[in-house]
C-alpha cells in the first residue's frame, strides 16, 4: 500500500547491453530492480540484436518489478527513462516503453542522463555528499566533480574506455566476457612487468595504444599471466594517477568509484591506497548497482522530478551522444 506523501518513480534503462526496470520510493528507497543482460554469442554488442533482446525482455521485467515493489501501476507518480548516452536502437526501446507507460497512466515523463544516474546512485549508496567521481564502464572512463551547477569533467579517456580496453583484450585472447574478472584472475599469477605504453596526458588517459601493444605481445607469445598483470597494473595506475591529479586540483575530500568496472577489487584497493595519502575518504558504489540498472534511473528520475524536470512525450527524443556536462543538476546547490 502506498503511504501518504510517498512518491514512487519508475525508471527504465536500456542504453547498451542491459535492459532494466527500477522503482524508487521516497519513503522506502529502492523497492525494485529487475534486469536482463544481452550476451552476444560472439564478438561485441550488436546494437540491433541487443535492442531485440530488450524489447523481448521488457514486458516481463516490468511485471516482475511492479510485483516486487508490491505497488499498483497507478501508484507510480512519474516515469523516468535514460534517453542517452548510448546506442540508438537500444535507447529507442526503453524510450518507447517509457512513453507508452507515461501516456497510459497519464504521468510525467522524466529524462535521465545515464552517466548522471551512475553518479547519483553512487552518492546514494555510499552516503558521500560531494565526492570526486571516477566513472569507469564499458562505454565510459571519466573523472567528474560537481562545480557550479553541473558535473564537470576533470579527466577522461582520449580514445577507448578502460572497460572496452580490457573486454577487447579478453575477447581477443579467448578469456571471454566479461573480461575484467577473467583478466584479474590471471593478474595474481603474473610475475614480470612487461613494457607497455603508460599514457597520461595532463588529466587525461589513452588506452588504445596500450590495447594494441598488449595484443601484439600476446601474438608474439608473451605469457598471458604476465600480460594480464602488466595490462592491469599499467591501465589502473594510469587511471589512479589522473584521479590523484584531479583530487589535488579540485581539493575534494571524498572519492567515489562507479560504473561496471567499479566491482574490481584491485582498482578499489589502488584508489583507496591513493586516497589515504591525501586523507580523502574512498568508497565504491554498492556492487549490485555498479553495472547498468533501472534503479539508478528511477532514483535519478526521482531527484529530477522533485526539481521540476520533465519532458513532453512528443519531444522526448533519444540522445545517443548526450554528455553529462550538458545537464544542469537542479537538485544540488
Amino acid at each position: 500500500m502506498k503511504e501518504k506523501d510517498e512518491l514512487i518513480v519508475l525508471g527504465i534503462e536500456s542504453t547498451a547491453h542491459t535492459v532494466g526496470i527500477g522503482i524508487f520510493s521516497s519513503k522506502r528507497g529502492i523497492i525494485a530492480d529487475e534486469k536482463s543482460v544481452y550476451r552476444p554469442a560472439k564478438g561485441g554488442i550488436h546494437p540491433r540484436e541487443a535492442a531485440e533482446h530488450h524489447s523481448k525482455k521488457l514486458p516481463s521485467l516490468l511485471k516482475a518489478a511492479i510485483e516486487k515493489a508490491k505497488c499498483d501501476p497507478h501508484d507510480i507518480d512519474a516515469v523516468s527513462v535514460a534517453l542517452g548516452p548510448g546506442m540508438g536502437p537500444c535507447l529507442r526501446i526503453g524510450a518507447s516503453v517509457a512513453r507508452a507507460i507515461a501516456l497510459k497512466l497519464n504521468r510525467p515523463l522524466i529524462p535521465v542522463n545515464h552517466a548522471i544516474a551512475h553518479i547519483e546512485i553512487a552518492r546514494f549508496t555510499t552516503g558521500f555528499h560531494d565526492p570526486l567521481v571516477v566513472y569507469v564502464a564499458g562505454g565510459n572512463t571519466l573523472i567528474a566533480a560537481f562545480v557550479e551547477k553541473r558535473y564537470r569533467v576533470f579527466g577522461e579517456t582520449l580514445d577507448i574506455s578502460l572497460g572496452n580496453c580490457l573486454d577487447v583484450f579478453a575477447r581477443e585472447t579467448g578469456l571471454g566476457f566479461p573480461g575484467v574478472p577473467q583478466i584479474e584472475k590471471l593478474y595474481s599469477k603474473g610475475k614480470k612487468l612487461l613494457e607497455l605504453p603508460y599514457i597520461v596526458k595532463g588529466q587525461d588517459v589513452s588506452y588504445s595504444g596500450l590495447l594494441t601493444k598488449a595484443l601484439q605481445l600476446y601474438k608474439k607469445g608473451s605469457s598471458i599471466e604476465d600480460l594480464c598483470y602488466s595490462l592491469i597494473e599499467v591501465a589502473y595506475s594510469m587511471l589512479v594517477e589522473v584521479t590523484e591529479r584531479a583530487l589535488v586540483h579540485t581539493k575534494k575530500k571524498e572519492v567515489v568509484l562507479t560504473g561496471g568496472v567499479a566491482r574490481s577489487r584491485i582498482l578499489q584497493e589502488k584508489l583507496s591506497t591513493m586516497c589515504k595519502i591525501h586523507k580523502a575518504k574512498f568508497a565504491s558504489v554498492k556492487s549490485e548497482y555498479a553495472g547498468d540498472n533501472g534503479a539508478m534511473i528511477a532514483y535519478t528520475g526521482y531527484l529530477a522530478y522533485i526539481s521540476g524536470i520533465k519532458i513532453p512525450v512528443n519531444e522526448s527524443f533519444i540522445m545517443p551522444f548526450w554528455r553529462l556536462d550538458e545537464v544542469d543538476i537542479l537538485w544540488r546547490s
Partner: protein, 232 residues
Amino acid sequence: MEILGIGAEAILVKTKFYDFEVVRKTRVRKAYRDATLDSRIRSKRTILEAKLLAYSKCIGVPVPTVLYVDAHNATIIIDYIKGKKLRDILDKLPESDLRKIFHAIGREVGLLHKAGIVHGDLTTSNMIVSGGKVFLIDFGLGYFSKELEDRAVDIHLFLRALESTHPNHVKVAFDSFVGGYREIMGEYVDSVLNRVKEIRLRGRYVGERRKRKYKEQSFYKPQQNCEEKVGM
C-alpha cells in the same frame, strides 16, 4: 624547511641551498603502482622535467631555474618563486588583469611551442603570478615535440581545465590566451585551434561528433550547432 605542498605526484619543500631560497621537488613512491613501473616513471619524469625547465629558461619563458638534479632519488632543486597560484586568485581578478595575464600566458605557451616544448599539464594550478609575470611550473608531464597534434592537445587540456575550474571566465581567458599565442605563432594558431576542435570531437559522446543535433530542451543548454532534433 617548510612543506609548500603535497602535489599529485611530488612533495615540494621550501628550503635553503647555499644562500638561495629553493624548492626541493621529490617525486614520491606511489604505493598503488608496481615498484618497477613506479621507479621507471619517476626517474624518467625527473630527468625530462629538468631538461624542459632549462630549455624553457633559455628561450626566455618565466620558469624556475634548475639548480640540482638527482635522478636516482627522483629529486630536483629549483629556485623558489614568490607569488600566488593563478587558480586561487583568478575568480577575483578584474577583467583587465585577466586579459593581461592570459595574454602573457598565450605568449609564453607560444614561445614554448615554437621551441618544440609541450608543457603537458597547463592548468591554472601550474601558473604562479609573481611581480607582473606569470611563471609556468610543473613540467612533469612535458615533452619535446613540434607536432601539431601535441601542441593542440596541450591547448585542449588548458581549455578543458578552464572550463571545469573557472566556468565563468572561459571566454575572456581563452580569447586573450589565443591573442597572445597568435603574437608568437602567427597564422599557425588557426590550424592549432582547428585541431583542438577535432580533438574535442574525438571525446566520448560529443554531440557534434556525427553531426547529429539535439532538440533544445528546457533543462539542457545546447552547445553551438546542437539545435536540430534527432530523428526517432
